[in-house]
């Protein structure tokens, strides 16, 4: 068994698709880090002073336009023209801009806040890594079946389920390792952006724990996605099977179903879309609102009906999906004739 594990690790990292996807993954994550590093600026006294100057300048510009407008209105009035349609009463003299309306904060550059924004970046990271994991997972077994490599391997290792699950184990271990390594670098890079080009915010142990749990959920989704891709490509004995199902599921769930349920006027139709469960998974819960319903509160306010999708429900949906695909792959691996 050790030999097979070693061979499969070597095979996975020798494959062009794996190397290409890892390269693209690092490139994509690196581009995001670089872009945010360039976009974020630490706010200090000089930036605040500059923003204050810009706010004052904007106020003065608007004041000048206003005074110019009032003057034109007065002049028109003096010529005996009817200005009531064009200008407010008293030529709008009392509607002039106020200095406090020009907040200096609007003129500050973007400043990354690690504490407030890292949660979103965990989702972005998980999404990008999941895409790469899907393609690598599908190709790892799909291309092997399609090229005849799997048949060759079965001539050496006739215990089919052992081969199927060793390859899956190698894939998931590798995806986990890469996710942890890149996730650590991702966290460090964003924290450094916060430290030197923005704010880290008030980081407590609780905040770090919350990020760790979000990160674990993100990696969990990445692993599920890799396993589904592997299972689908194994069922179809071709990488295209997994890619086709992904596109098909996307089209059916996010476009076809959306149109059909919209026409049918189904309440809380979003609960039938996979993306809702992905959001709930990352955000812990996702609240759907039905604005056609009006529930009066004590204060007489109109409140919509709500439907909450929890991360536990998401876990059930994605877990069941992964289980069904892997059971199908296992059953076919046991039963099918390799021709």
């Amino acid at each position: 068994m050790k030999g097979l594990v070693r061979a499969e690790f070597r095979r996975l990292f020798k494959r062009r698709v794996t190397r290409l996807m890892l390269g693209l993954l690092v490139l994509a994550l690196g581009t995001i880090i670089t872009a945010f590093s360039l976009a974020s600026h630490k706010i200090g006294p000089s930036e605040l002073a500059a923003a204050e100057t810009k706010a004052q300048s904007a106020y003065e510009t608007q004041l000048r336009y206003h005074e110019q407008g009032v003057a034109e209105c007065e002049a028109a009035k003096a010529r005996g023209e009817n200005v009531n349609e064009q200008y407010p009463p008293d030529c709008g003299r009392e509607f002039g801009p106020q200095r406090e309306q020009f907040d200096a904060e609007w003129f500050l550059p973007y400043e990354f806040n690690f504490h407030d924004e890292f949660g979103i970046f965990i989702s972005v990271f998980a999404g990008i890594v999941a895409l790469a994991a899907y393609i690598i997972g599908a190709s790892f077994v799909g291309a092997e079946w399609h090229s005849g490599g799997m048949m060759n391997l079965l001539l050496w290792r006739p215990k089919r389920l052992s081969v199927l699950f060793t390859k899956l184990g190698v894939l998931l271990t590798s995806v986990l390792g890469v996710s942890l390594a890149l996730g650590t670098l991702w966290t460090i890079a964003l924290w450094l952006i916060g430290k030197f080009d923005g704010q880290t915010g008030k980081m407590t142990q609780g905040t770090w724990e919350s990020f760790a749990i979000s990160g674990a959920r993100g990696i969990g989704l990445v692993l599920a996605v890799a396993a589904i891709a592997y299972g689908l490509a194994s069922v179809g004995r071709h990488t295209a099977m997994a890619l086709g199902v992904a596109i098909g599921a996307g089209v059916i769930s996010e476009i076809g179903l959306r149109i059909a349920l919209d026409i049918a006027g189904v309440k809380f139709a979003d609960r039938y879309y996979l993306s809702t469960y992905a959001m709930a998974w990352f955000e812990k819960k996702w609240t759907l609102e039905d604005w056609n319903a009006c529930n009066f509160s004590i204060s007489g306010e109109c409140k919509p009906d709500v439907f909450v999708v929890t991360w536990q429900q998401s876990a059930l949906v994605f877990g069941l999906g992964t289980a069904v695909v892997l059971i199908a792959a296992t059953w076919l691996m046991r039963r099918r004739d390799v021709t």
């Binding site: 030999g3 061979a7 090229s147 048949m151 391997l153 004739d337 390799v338």
Partner: protein, 327 residues
């Protein structure tokens, strides 16, 4: 003294039926039997679609049989296949490898998967003549080179039983000869070789025994010489000093009760117990024989006869059209 031969491979009553909703049922193997004895080069012959590859795939655990019994090196398969697979090297049908890996990588990964020493990789590459091209990607290889790589992968385990499905496919004439010599050497070293091939001349030259399959059943089996003898007509080719004497000679022989077929420059005589009687009878009538030779059959003609696949002028034989043999 009678030597008890040890069967390395035994197949009895093997059945496999493919079921398809659209095409219905097709019996690929219909009670097929085969025995390969130790140390032999055994030819496995049959027309396209006769069940050769299905047999080999079933033997190697790639296809599930519907019935019958199989044993390799005394172990029942597929139940005990994991126990014997390390002693069986095989290539099945056309060589298939991941195209973006080199031959070196392909064999090295197989060696790891089989817990073999990496030392074997350069050894087998040398044997099949791929040493200098070992680091090139398989997708750049010709069919013949892929075939050599397939043979190398089968030899990697240093197996006791080597199963080769069409190993000469795509090889150049030199390669075919090398393959023939390789099989002779392997057999001489004690390895048993099961060779499926359509190059019947090759099979006749290098195989000790053969099994012929048609429509999923065995139609002939045994040592090559015995199979040829069983299907030899026992006929003679008779030439005379003068071709003008052929009609007279034919008359003499027909009168003695043998069958004669007159050809432009010789006679084909059958039904003769002793060839010397032909010479004697004709010499008694002053007709002198210049050549008297037994008509030999080759494996190709036996194969075509047994499988009913000889071409017929004006007809286009379809793939599954072969001779029916009784169960």
């Amino acid at each position: 003294m009678v030597c008890a031969m040890v069967a390395v491979l035994e197949i009895e009553g093997l059945r496999k039926t493919y079921r398809s909703r659209r095409r219905g049922e097709r019996r690929a193997l219909d009670g097929f039997d085969m025995v390969v004895e130790a140390g032999q080069v055994h030819g496995f012959l049959g027309p396209n679609g006769s069940g050769k590859t299905t047999t080999l795939r079933t033997l190697l655990g790639l296809i599930r049989p519907n019935g019958g019994r199989m044993a390799i090196l005394g172990q029942e398969v597929p139940a005990n296949l994991p126990a014997v697979v390390g002693k069986v090297g095989a290539i099945v049908e056309s060589p298939q490898f991941f195209p973006h890996f080199s031959a070196q990588d392909t064999l090295s990964l197989l060696a790891d998967a089989g817990n073999l020493s990496q030392q074997r990789v350069p050894e087998v590459l040398e044997v099949v003549g791929l040493r200098d091209r070992a680091k090139e990607r398989v997708k750049t290889y010709s069919l013949g080179m892929k075939q050599r790589l397939a043979v190398a992968s089968a030899l990697l385990k240093n197996p006791q039983l080597l199963i080769l499905d069409e190993p000469a496919n795509g090889l150049d004439p030199g390669g075919i000869r090398e393959m023939r010599d390789l099989m002779r050497d392997l057999s001489a070293s004690g390895m048993t070789v099961l060779l499926s091939s359509h190059i019947l001349g090759e099979v006749q030259q290098i195989c000790d025994s053969v099994t012929i399959i048609s429509l999923g059943r065995r139609v002939a089996a045994g040592p090559v010489a015995e199979v040829l003898a069983q299907h030899s007509s026992g006929g003679l080719r008779v030439r005379l000093e003068s071709s003008a004497d052929l009609p007279a000679a034919a008359q003499v022989l027909v009168a003695s009760g043998v069958r004669v077929d007159i050809q432009p420059d010789h006679l084909l005589v059958s039904g003769v117990d002793k060839p010397s009687s032909v010479t004697r009878m004709l010499a008694g009538r002053d007709l002198y024989v210049s050549e008297l030779a037994p008509i030999t059959v080759d494996l190709e003609s036996v194969f075509l006869e047994l499988t009913g696949t000889a071409p017929v002028a004006g007809q286009h034989r379809q793939v599954d059209q072969s001779a029916e043999v009784p169960a």
